[in-house]
Amino acid sequence: MGGRRSLQGEAAAPGQPSAVLLYIVRRLVNVVVMLLVVSMITFGIFFMVPKLTGTDPVYLYVGKNATPAAVEGLRVKLGLDKPLYEQYGLYLKGIVVGRDYSTGTGVEHCPAPCLGLSVQNEDPVWGDLTSDLPITASLAAGASVLWLILGVGTGALSALRKRSIGDRVTMVTALAGVSLPIYFTGLLSIYLFCYTLNWLPDPSYVPLTQDPVGWAQNLILPWITLAFLYAATYARLTRATMLDVLGEDYIRTARAKGLPERIVIGKHAMRSTMTPILTVFGMDLGGLIGGAVLTETVFNLHGLGNAALQGIQKNDLPMIMGVTLFAAFFIVMANLIVDLLYAAVDPRVRLA
C-alpha cells in the first residue's frame, strides 16, 4: 500500500485526464498479459502434469470402455494430437477468430471468442459461460450490496460503541458468520423460509428481465446467506479500520473545528475507513463473479461456480479452462477498477 502512495508533497501535480487514460490503456494491456499467463498456466497444468507423471492426457477425458477410435477422436477434438505450443496457439486463435469443429455430419462453427466446445454437451464454452454469468452476477450483486450495508454499518457502529454490549454481540455474531459454513446457514435458511414458514419459493433462478419480483424472491436467501458470510468479515474489518481512523489526528482536528459528530464520523472517519474496504470489496466481488461454488450448489443456482464444478467432475477440460479464464478476467478487472477508484478516493495515489 505504502509503495503506491506519494507523500513527497509540493512537487506533485494533479493527474491529467490524458495521463489517466494512458494509465488505463496500460493497465488493460497488463490485463491481457495476465490472462495470457493464466491461460498458459492452466494449459500447462492440464497438459504437462499428466505428461510428467507419464500418463497420456487424453485418458483423463475419455469415459468408461473407451475404444481406441474414441480415444483418437477425442485426441483430435481436444487438439492433443498436436504439439503443445500449437495447441495453445490454436486455442488463442479460437479466442480471436473462432474455430470450426467437425460434427461427423457437418461442421460446427464456434464463433469468436471461442473457448472450445464443452466435452459434456458439445456447446461452445463461451455461450455456456455467458448464459451462466447473469446468474452469478445477480447473486454477487445482491449479496454484495447487502453485505456492504450490513457489514460496514454494524462494523462502524461497533467501533463507535467499542466494548459495549452491542459491540460484543455484533462481533460474536460476526465471528459466527465467518466460521459457519455456507452449507449450514444455507440449508438452514432453505428449510426455515421455504419449507417451515413457506415464505419463499424453493430457490431457482428467474431472470431479472423476465420477472423482477421473482428474481429477487428466489435470490433473497442466497443473498442473505452469502452476505452473512461476507458481512461478518466486513464488520470486523470496518470495526478495526474505523477504530484506527478514530485515533487519527485529523479526526481530532475535525472535532476541534467544532464539527458535529455525525460529520466527523459520517464524513471524515467514514471516507478513510472505506478506502481499505473498497480494496477488499473489489477483490471479493471479482472473485465471487468467478463463481460462488458452495452457495450455487446449496441453492441450486446454475451459475459459473456450478459450471466450474460440473467441469471438474466431468473432466471437461475446455470448460475448466474457460471458467478459469473467465474468473481470472473478472478478478483482474476488479483489481483495475479498485485501483482506479482508489485513486479517485485517495488523492495521494497517483496513477503511474
Binding site: A254, K257, R271, D346, R348
Partner: protein, 366 residues
Amino acid sequence: MTKSDSAKTEAVIDVSASSSGAPTSFLSVRNLRCHFPTDDGIVKSVDGLSFDLERGKTLGIVGESGSGKSVTSLSIMGLHRNVGKKRGPQISGEIWLDGQELINANPDEVRKLRGQKMAMIFQDPLTAMHPYYTVGQQITEGHRQHNPQVSKKAAREHAIQLLDRVGIPQPDKRVDQHPHEFSGGMRQRAMIAMALANDPSLLIADEPTTALDVTVQAQILDLIRDLQKEFGSSVIIITHDLGVVAELADDILVMYGGKCVEKGPADKIFTEPEHPYTWGLLGSMPRIDRELQDRLIPVKGNPPSLINLPSGCAFHPRCPYVDRTEGRSTTETPLLTNVGENHLAACHMPLEVRQQIFTQEIAPRL
C-alpha cells in the same frame, strides 16, 4: 506542615483559584483535574491546575512530554472523549471562557465554541489534516459550520484570503490542493489558517513548531505573533522548549507531573526562576547568545510515572538540591507560593537559598 506555610498557601489560593463565581479573566482554569483510569491504575495527567489568561495575552505552558500540558489544552477545547464514562477520563474543576464554564456545560454548547471562539493548532500538520480533502475544503468546512449563511463561494474566497494572510504563495491555486502537496512549513501555515477561519478569541498552539525545521520554526512563531497582534486573540502556546516561548509569551507556566511548579511573567521566569526544574529547563535550552554551548545541561533522569507520583515533591528524585530541604521534599508536597509579583513557585527550599543557588550556580552557566 507549619502554620506559616498554610497561611501562604491560602494567600496563593486567593489569588488564582478560589471564588466560585465567574472570574474577571478572559480564560480562567481552576483546580483542573484530569484522571485517566487504566488497567494499571489511575493516570493523573493533570492534578489541580489553575491559571488565568487575559484577553490579547499569550501564555506559554512548558514542560516535558507527559507533564500534562497537552491534556490541559484538550480539556479546554473539550476534546477528551468518553468523559465521565466507566473507562473514560474523569475531569473536574472549572474552566471559564469569557464568562462561560465549560467542564459542566452541555457538550454541544462546547462544540459550538470550538473552531469559533477557541481554536487549536496541532503539533504535526501532516497527520492533523485529512489526507483526502483539499486544504480549501478543510478551511471552509469549519467556517461554514459556524456560519451556515456563508455561501460556498464566499467561504472559498475567505479561505484564499486566510491562506494569503498566513503567507502561502498562489493561494488561489493552493486552496484546491491536498495536504500532501504542501511542504511541512506550508502545511503548518495552512493549519493556522484553518484555526483562524472564524477569528477565534482563544488560540491554542500545541507544540506548533516541534515537527518543523529550525528555520521554519522561527517563521511560524513570527506568524503567530503577528496574527495575535492583528486578531487580538489570547494565545496559549504549549511547548517543551522554553526557547519557543521566550519572545512570544507574556506569562509562562511550568508544569511537572501534572502540576504547576512555577508560573509568572515571562521575564521573571527567565531572569529570576524560582524552581530547580525551571532552572533545568533553562539549562537545557539552546540559545544563540549562550557562550558555552558545551555546558548545555539536560535535566537528569526521566519524567515521573503519573500513576505513582514520587512522594512529597514529584521532582525530588531528579532534583540536585533535594538535600537542602531537610527531607521535606520526599515527604511533603510543596505548595505554590508567592515569590514575587504574580510569580509563584512550589519548592521547599527557602527563598533565600534558592536565590543564592540561582545567582551563584545557575545563572553563570546560562
